[in-house]
Symmetry: C2
Subunit: 239 residues, 2 copies
DNA sequence: CAGCTTTATAGTCGTAACGACTATTACTCG
DNA sequence: CGAGTAATAGTCGTTACGACTATAAAGCTG
């Protein structure tokens, strides 16, 4: 950066891309938009758009998130920078550098049509689905990152509504990691980690489904998990 | 990104900034360059520069790293993307979006003057030192990230020469974290983690200093630490 | 309504991991 | 040759965790 005044430089277009994840019906879903124009017309792509002249990438990402999801209040949502993608040919038309973000939503805010997208929909997360540009790689990176952050942060509550049961919280881990966890052990771990969750005062319980009604919890004030909640080590590689 | 063809967009300058860390004489050092021109003339700044038209940010970062350190072979070094900084006013002259990278060097490759910088030097890491632009924040973010990655990755060996003693490896942790660790326990943890380090075959030992000569090890083929090597929990916040 | 299924919650037991220590070995330095 | 220093070996008690059993409280099914 000290070389400003000597180097010639080329201007780039700067965009943001959003990997917005949620849990619908026990399966991980992603917010995708269908491209109407070439290149990649008809292909699914991550929502996103240009960073405006007076915006930071974070601001632009939050604006796009509101536009694409149609949510009235996006201010409380966690929006985390993932990484920046800058391969010279990632867009065939021009030089585009894209800052990717990850967001996690509690409940499926119904599809929506807002924003400028031809069509925006929640689709099940499928690592094999080819997306426009390098978006499949961005999405895979986002999935990896979220999976890793579940281990040592309290991020999982971001997938849950304000009040949730431990079963719902466990579903977050199981769905994102693609494993099943032992329920009593999960419960013990979460409850003995100070600040991870706190019981809802009114002794409120959630009933309605089958089985014994579950106690309700809220996210606590802790932000990191010490010690972490490790996912079971993969078979084939010793721990 | 689907909005290309409708939105007008503003071109940005894209740069890379490098937080290059090393251990000199048991203290964490950073590679800094002294700015010759306004703004921030005379201030220390992170090395970096513009991304050229046909480069990715990663390529540009590696090029800059070679130029600034004067190292002949930079290809083996770990260069990791940290985060992108895009506040509209981070550079008073123009709109600059900067992709920041972190690199870790084993041994202090002597200062150097290569590249276009007025002066490049290793200075002790000091969170209080004001740097040009938002570079003090970038540097702080890099330090945080490296500290966190030491816990669950084998990154620490990147600070060490190809063959190192367990004492040197422990120094990496102690220096970056700013704590002291129990030597036998550290040793046990490192040696019982498969693939973290492997002994150098020839039963080579490093002598020369005071004390008993230490056995030499190399980095193993593992890349992540399962279970992690947690830093001691801060006092004041219960674990 | 009885009994099955389902889900939440309580608790046990054995082991692995880890923090805090002590002891011993093998060097250099004065 | 001792004193100091750093590496290595090993012990002990506690915590954390995986695997598992048991009980409680709901809905469902006939």
């Amino acid at each position: 950066m000290q070389g400003y005044d000597k180097y010639a430089y080329e201007p780039f277009a700067v965009t943001v891309d959003l990997a917005v994840l949620t849990l619908r019906a026990g399966a991980l879903h992603v917010l995708l938009v269908e491209r109407g124009l070439e290149p990649y017309a008809g292909r699914w792509a991550l929502p996103g758009g240009f960073v405006l002249p007076r915006e930071s990438a974070e601001t632009a990402a939050r604006r796009e998130l509101a536009e694409e999801t149609g949510l009235s209040d996006v201010s409380g949502l966690r929006l985390e920078q993932l990484r920046t993608y800058s391969e010279p040919d990632r867009d065939p038309r021009m030089r585009v550098v894209s800052v990717a973000f990850t967001a996690l939503l509690p409940d499926p805010p119904e599809p929506h049509g807002g924003g400028d997208a031809a069509q925006a929909r929640w689709l099940p997360y499928d690592p094999g689905r080819p997306l426009a540009f390098d978006h499949d790689r961005i999405l895979a990176d986002a999935h990896d990152r979220v999976g890793a952050k579940l281990e040592y942060s309290c991020l999982a509550t971001a997938f849950c509504p304000p009040e949730f049961t431990l079963g719902e919280l466990q579903n977050v881990y199981e769905t994102v990691w693609g494993v099943t966890l032992d329920r009593p052990n999960f419960r013990r771990k979460v409850l003995t980690t100070p600040g991870f969750v706190e019981p809802v005062p009114g002794a409120a319980r959630l009933t309605g489904g089958r089985g014994k009604p579950a106690a309700l919890y809220r996210a606590g004030d802790a932000t990191s998990l010490h010690p972490p909640l490790l996912r079971p080590p993969r078979e084939g590689r010793p721990a």
